[in-house]
């Protein structure tokens, strides 16, 4: 079980004027700038959940992961994971977790991967039978047996990532923290990694916390997402309900008889509805895609539009996660009132 209560973390950046004069001056006058990377966040994650931590670049996702993995101490608040304080009880705490920072490897750079695995086995005291069973499973799912005899430095990014993920699950951790585990990978390797994550979660009830900028990772893996923006949590809940963030919206697609008249229709819609009712209109030759918020209904919109003789056909669809998340990342948060 993971519990974060009112957790904050700030970084101080010492600003110094350029040149030698600036360096000398900074020795005496500390001109500090504060970056509030994480601001008073709260959440609880139960055993066996898969949770996606989302948010734009610099939102504070990695900082949150670093606090949860015991690397960073939080300035305020309380973190309790598996009944321990990750920072103060690092040695005991790290026994039960597996961590991947997608940008860098945690295997022994110069050694063949299989030797890294064996060292990991010794570090965590994994039983030989269990270890062999794991390796077999990883090979079935990831096909790593052809690459584990090579030194890590000779692997491609994707091969290295497969081995790193395997390494993180080798000791059957209760929780796996995966910070951008699919960064820079091709579709094939991405899907292998997703399958492994799902299998670990299903078979061993491993709790998974992951960050990613890839919407398809989220769709494939997460039931629950936590969206962080500028250090604060702006959404914590089901993936399927994320569209609440921009005001429950729906999309109406309209096919036109006559392309020339589409401007007429657009201005008719825009004059009737306010910008927080009709969110945007996407124009593609004979097709218009209209997104509406929860302030109006589809029938209200259609009632207005159908008077227009120019319409050939129309479709109604549910909100699109990708659209919502793009909006969130662009900082255009909807109507939270």
């Amino acid at each position: 079980m993971i519990q974060l209560e009112n957790v904050s973390k700030s970084f101080f950046i010492v600003k110094k004027a350029p040149g030698l004069g600036g360096s000398v001056k900074s020795l005496f006058v500390r001109n500090k700038e504060t970056v509030e990377a994480v601001k008073k966040i709260d959440f609880t994650i139960a055993d066996g959940e898969i949770v996606g931590l989302l948010g734009p670049n610099g939102a504070g996702k990695s900082t949150t992961i670093k606090m949860m993995t015991g690397i960073l101490r939080c300035d305020h608040g309380r973190i309790n994971i598996n009944g321990r304080d990750p920072f103060r009880e690092r040695m005991k705490y790290t026994k039960d977790i597996g961590v991947v920072f997608g940008q860098r490897t945690q295997l022994w750079w110069e050694l063949p991967v299989i030797e890294s695995f064996d060292i990991i086995r010794k570090i965590y005291d994994v039983e030989m039978a269990e270890y062999n069973e794991r390796l077999k499973l990883f090979d079935e799912m990831l096909g790593i047996n052809q690459i584990i005899h090579k030194p890590v430095r000779n692997l491609s990014l994707g091969q290295r990532m497969l081995c790193d993920i395997a390494g993180a699950f080798l000791h059957n951790p209760r929780i796996a923290f995966l910070d951008e585990p699919t960064i820079g990978l091709d579709l094939n390797i991405k899907s292998k990694i997703r399958e492994l994550i799902l299998a670990m979660n299903k078979k061993f009830k491993t709790t998974i916390i992951l960050t990613t900028h890839d919407i398809s990772d989220i769709k494939a893996l997460c039931e629950r997402i936590i969206v962080i923006d500028k250090g604060s949590i702006i959404y914590d809940g089901n993936l399927s309900e994320i569209s609440d963030l921009v005001g429950q919206n729906q999309e109406v697609g309209i096919y036109l008889e006559n392309i020339e008249n589409n401007q007429l229709l657009i201005s008719a819609v825009q004059s009737e509805f306010a910008p927080d009712e009709v969110l945007d209109i996407d124009v593609r030759e004979d097709y218009l895609n209209i997104r509406i918020s929860n302030k109006i209904t589809v029938s209200q919109l259609m009632g207005h539009i159908l008077r227009n003789e120019n319409i050939k056909d129309f479709t109604i669809s549910e909100p699109d996660v990708e659209y919502v998340i793009r909006k969130v990342y662009a900082g255009e948060l909807g109507n939270e009132d």
Partner: protein, 263 residues
């Protein structure tokens, strides 16, 4: 129990590191030859000096070679087993040091054992040969008790140098880029290689009390080259112990306040 686990991890790392390093045989031989040549250059300098003067700072030729050999052995042991400390500054700059905080083993152990480099063996063998040569000419009595003292003092000397390097490295927890400090300790180590009597008083003071590199070579070797047991050579043991514990404390304090560089 803990010791058994660490020993098993260490033996494994030792084994696979040496195996993987020796796969690059050319690399091994070239760097071995390089190391030997560097040492021979210093030796020739000493040889030429003694062609012109009988004593260096009141120390005879064979005594000087003995000190040199002692220093060579202790620093070779550092180089084989703990040289990874040298490159730690890269991890501080890149923020990649966090890797060593994510597993249930001591972070210093984890870092120091990551790379073990057999190329220092060539230098170690040179050091042993020089010690045998100078010892024979000095008519040293290699009694059992003397050999015990030799081993203990060598291990203390290695530990002192490794502790000094570790303290320099641990500054990286505060200043982000400890390269200059690490490199300063590394470049100054040669002060321990020669009879301390050749240096001026300020230097003597520094390499005895501030950056005690005199204990890496000169002081402990005087245990063997002087007829009477001298106080400073025995001080090597407490200095090693003090620096060992100081280094552990500084590392721990550093880890506690460490803020990895971004990303």
């Amino acid at each position: 129990m803990a010791i058994k686990r660490y020993a098993s991890i260490y033996l494994k790392l030792l084994n696979v590191n040496i195996k993987s390093k020796l796969e690059f045989a050319a690399d091994f031989w070239i760097s071995s030859i390089g190391l030997i040549l560097t040492n021979l250059t210093s030796l020739f300098t000493l040889y030429f000096i003694f062609q012109h003067i009988p004593m260096l700072g009141g120390v005879s030729y064979y005594d000087t070679i003995f000190i040199f050999s002692f220093f060579t052995i202790s620093t070779s042991l550092h180089q084989i087993f703990f040289d990874n400390i040298w490159s730690i500054w890269i991890h501080f700059i890149e923020g990649s040091f966090i890797k060593y905080c994510l597993r249930p083993i001591d972070s210093m152990f984890y870092y120091l054992t990551e790379s073990i480099d057999p190329k220092g063996f060539s230098q170690l063998i040179l050091g042993i040969a020089l010690m045998a040569y100078s010892g024979a000419n000095l008519n040293l009595n290699w009694s059992f008790i003397n050999i015990i003292f030799l081993v203990v003092l060598l291990l203390c000397a290695t530990s002192i140098y490794t502790s000094l390097m570790t303290i320099a490295a641990a500054l990286g927890f505060w200043i982000t880029d400890p390269f200059e400090v690490i490199s300063l300790v590394n470049r100054s180590k040669d002060f321990g290689k020669y009879p301390i009597t050749i240096f001026n008083n300020a230097t003597k003071f520094i390499i005895t009390f501030v950056l005690p590199l005199g204990f890496v070579g000169f002081y402990p070797s005087t245990f063997f080259v002087k007829d009477t047991i001298n106080f400073m050579s025995l001080m090597t043991v407490p200095v090693a112990l003090i620096l060992f514990f100081a280094q552990r404390l500084i590392w721990k304090a550093g880890l506690n306040r460490y803020i990895p560089a971004g990303s």
